[in-house]
Symmetry: C3
Subunit: 241 residues, 3 copies
């Protein structure tokens, strides 16, 4: 199984083109969109979300990640990472850094395979999708072993005290694991004081709170409301303990 | 086959997490998004849309419905319903009430199975998806038989004279089956008089009308226009005969 | 494999209903959304995008196209087209015209099969999806051979000097193949002069340019910006060489 983890958005032919490229190289392999609206070009924020979702990725499957701050980036940055029984294929821009930090030993390869036709702007379709397909069908890694540092920055914190993702309901995920916070910890974001609650129904309608969300991250929400709008939140906003 | 019927929206990892949960419990079972932008937290409106789509659900398949007005709701509300050759898994908040009203005898179970880890906020992934997977692979219902009333309110009308869904083009579905209305019946919504037509091309561009839509419901539309914007429609608006 | 190529948008039950209709007629056949937000009701613009994506369609598969300017259109317009090893099913309104112009010989049939129940407004589900399913499972074409002109207008230019699609990032695809332009060709759109570049990183942040996009079309973009907003672009805008 191949999981797509991208910032492509729902519109356009891009996800469809990725799927056709996978189908051409590994017919019949199932493909699931894990998420397609990661914060655009933001590999760092996306890295924390990936780490939070990591335990839900089925062992044996391939995570195909594309969040590319510089479209047309040097294709030598393309990497394959192996952690436990899972494969990761994508750019070496840090997208896989937090998973790598949390799980050692990790193996990393630089992708050396090149397609007969490599477009300047769509490495997801031309390079990453075929390599993900090769791994899904059990081929050797088409690349050379490299140092773990090749996945990108090594100095990102274990937990990121920032808003990393705003969902369609205005709930704001942060890059902090809830397990690291006291259940009575108060937060501050954009000058608003945010108290903890176990879940939505514990606070009054219209009231903000934070809770441990379904993937274990600290998430800021408003019962029956839109936290993003109510507090003016954006990806990258600092969260103060 | 499992059909997802949710108000999750297209964004975020939620639909992807549901699919991974299903794959873990029933590898290889096909999954289709029937709809993912049901009116948020509105089980009543969604119940009428489900009833209208019911005949299109393939016999033998499992409808996994999640429209949850109170996230963090009591998990004892989780039900399985069987109607003819189809399964329904979801909350006992009325989402399945209209299907149940239209089709008897109906069997209902309260779900007693619990996962080793049940999050407070994502019962769709943790409870409903695994149970749908069990049914799709032919397991026994993991629950106890209960009264049909366990699916939720029993006093909702057979047809709902309200706007229940606005689609991306601004067409407004109502909860009324077109088969119950005269072909010459005029409607009124938000003070606008709406005349009947067989289809879009029968009225002038920019003109509003109602017609029997593709799933048999009364739908208010504007030829080459956006009825939702033109008439200021919202989910819940009353329709007067 | 069946590819969906529609202007339905992501919302609503429409894509899901198409998939259920396909599943009913060809159980187990894989279905991929190639694109679902084609410019609404615009068969001409969509025809150029289809031609640009054509080489990515796997041989042996069926392209199911629905872009219908007149919902409730005469169902006698329904066609099947065969080009090389690929099938196309949809309306004879020009959606397949540019593919037909670029690839001869082409065979065309008028669909004569009718379902037991044909709604006035959803031929995609009731007529086109079942026919696509028949072809995917290897049945005979359920129709009569007709002249190639039955796919629609024969007088559309080989390249269309217009904006044909704006993606979610504001990049504006045109109907012109980049292979037909000099690499130094400047363009003008809405009074803005647009210079060529090989890719995003070749121009300064905030600067507009055109480049050969991933499917070979001339695309107008802004590095780290939104060309659609910056230049006020809309589908149909003329591009001047």
């Amino acid at each position: 199984m191949i999981l797509l983890f991208t910032d492509f958005g729902q519109s356009g032919p891009y996800l469809g083109q990725m799927r056709l490229s996978i189908e051409r190289h590994a017919p019949g392999v199932p493909v699931v969109d894990l998420i397609s609206d990661l914060p655009a070009f933001n590999a760092r924020a996306s890295a924390y979300l990936l780490a939070a979702l990591n335990s839900e990725i089925p062992p044996g499957s391939v995570l195909l990640g594309v969040v590319d701050p510089g479209v047309g980036t040097d294709s030598r940055q393309a990497v394959v990472m192996r952690v436990a029984d899972r494969w990761y294929v994508g750019p070496g821009n840090g997208l896989f850094s937090i998973v790598a930090q949390q799980h050692t030993p990790t193996q990393v390869w630089q992708i050396t395979w090149r397609p007969s036709r490599l477009s300047d702007s769509f490495h997801g379709r031309d390079l990453f999708a075929p390599v993900a397909a090769m791994l899904a069908r059990g081929d050797e890694v088409p690349g050379d072993p490299v140092d773990t540092a090749s996945v990108g920055p090594q100095d990102w914190p274990d937990d990121l005290a920032e808003v990393i993702y705003l969902d369609g309901f205005g709930n704001a995920m942060t890059g902090m694991r809830a397990s690291g916070l006291s259940e009575r910890q108060e937060l501050e974001v954009r000058g608003h004081r945010i108290r903890p609650a176990r879940t939505f129904s514990e606070v009054a309608p219209g009231e903000g709170f934070w809770y441990a969300n379904g993937c274990g991250l600290v998430e800021i929400a408003v019962n029956q409301g839109n936290a993003g709008e109510q507090f003016g939140l954006e990806t990258g906003d600092s969260v103060v303990l």
